[in-house]
Symmetry: C2
Subunit: 138 residues, 2 copies
Amino acid sequence: MNDEFTLDPRLANDSIYITDLALCQIRLNNDSRYPWFILIPKLNNISEIIDLSPQQQQQLWQESAALSFWLKKHYKHAKLNVAALGNVVAQLHIHHIVRFVHDDAWPAPVWGKFPAIGYTEEAKTTLKHQFLQTFLFP
Amino acid sequence: MNDEFTLDPRLANDSIYITDLALCQIRLNNDSRYPWFILIPKLNNISEIIDLSPQQQQQLWQESAALSFWLKKHYKHAKLNVAALGNVVAQLHIHHIVRFVHDDAWPAPVWGKFPAIGYTEEAKTTLKHQFLQTFLFP
């Protein structure tokens, strides 16, 4: 399926490639205000979770759970926000945002609150390496 | 598990009981601006999706998919927003919000945008009956 997969240009522009799982690509949203990862099923013409087959949905949620476990382990005392919205970018993508009681937008949702603060090149590289060295998908 | 289940008072106050599925209670958020349903696993001390067992997560997403299918069938030309945030109410609850390009908040997420407009008693009853007559969980 990957041969046919086209990433939405806005998602491509606003986020950083981390790795590929069986169904989804993992990307880091380029906003250092919050650790904010995005799962994007590598399929075209899918905008709702229920556009996926039941088997693909199950895979999606297994990948989401694996990412969530990593986030909760890596970021202590965090609350996760897991959300598939897609009002602006129709291509299905599932936000996994690590929230803290002291973050800029808490307790409000993050969307539309503050302009993104991009990562430095060094911070991108460090975070990606940390992720790849410690993330294990069963 | 239901005997032990305590619904968060804020969720109870802001939403209307619709029905019970095997894992979740379905409630209607009392904001007539958007058709907005909430799934709440009937378990205590659960605030993240991954606090559920793998079997419970699978059940949650099956119930979410069934609700989503009903929403897409009942509300034509809608986009779904599916989200587990929980920054204010810690008890795990998964929003299923039907969005339209002409709704009050489009394309922004709905949270914190506008004060809720409660349903009339008649509208509540009608919507609940429509749901119960047409929702089938496999």
